[in-house]
Symmetry: C2
Subunit: 110 residues, 2 copies
C-alpha cells in the first residue's frame, strides 16, 4: 500500500464496528444535523458553507463534530475548504437499512 493511500484519521472517527446506534440516533435527532445528513445523501462530498442551514459558524462546527463522532460523516481539508462526506456505506454495513428508513421518514413528513 502506498503511503498516500493511507487514511489519516483522528480518534474523532469511529471505525465501522464502533459506530454506536444511540449516538447515531442522537446525532439525527437535531433539525440542523438532520438537514445536513439529508443534503449529503446521494452526493459525493460537499463544502461546509453550502448546506441549507441558518446557524452561526460556531454552532455549525459543533453540529459537524457531533456528526463526525457519531460516525455519520467524514470531513477533509481541501485548500481552504472543508469537504464533508456521508459515511453511507459504513452506516449500511453497521445498521442495514437504518439510514434509508430514517431519511424516507424525514422526507415523507418534514
Amino acid at each position: 500500500m502506498s503511503r498516500t493511500s493511507r487514511r489519516r484519521e483522528g480518534p474523532a472517527y469511529p471505525d465501522v464496528a464502533e459506530i454506536d446506534l444511540l449516538d447515531v440516533l442522537h446525532a439525527l435527532s437535531d433539525p440542523t444535523r438532520m438537514t445536513i445528513v439529508d443534503t449529503l445523501d446521494g452526493t459525493p462530498e460537499r463544502a461546509c458553507g453550502t448546506f441549507p442551514v441558518d446557524v452561526a459558524p460556531s454552532t455549525l462546527s459543533h453540529h459537524f463534530k457531533v456528526l463526525r463522532e457519531s460516525g455519520l460523516i467524514r470531513q477533509r481539508e481541501d485548500g481552504n475548504r472543508r469537504l464533508t462526506t456521508l459515511r453511507a456505506a459504513d452506516l449500511e454495513e453497521r445498521f442495514p437499512g437504518l439510514l434509508a428508513t430514517v431519511l424516507a421518514a424525514y422526507r415523507a413528513t418534514a
Copy 2:
C-alpha cells in the same frame, strides 16, 4: 359509542399525524428508554416496575414522560399499577419500517 369506550388522553399524547420524527429519534437515543421500547416490543402491555432497567423511580418517570410525549408509548392506570403499551401500529402508520429497523439494529449490536 359507549361512554366507557372513549379514550381519555391528556395533551401529552400526540396524535399519529403529529408524531415527530426528531422527537422519536431523540427518545430512542437514550439507553434506558431504548431498553423500555425493546422490552415492550411484541408484548401487549407491561407494568412499570417490571422493566429491566436500574434507575431511580423519578428518573424512570422522566423517561416515560419523554416516551409518551414522543408518541412511542401510552400508559394507563389499572388500580395501583400503571400499564405501558408500545404504540407500534401508530409508529408503523406514521413512519413505515422505522421502529422495526431501529430495533433490529439495536438487537444486532447491543
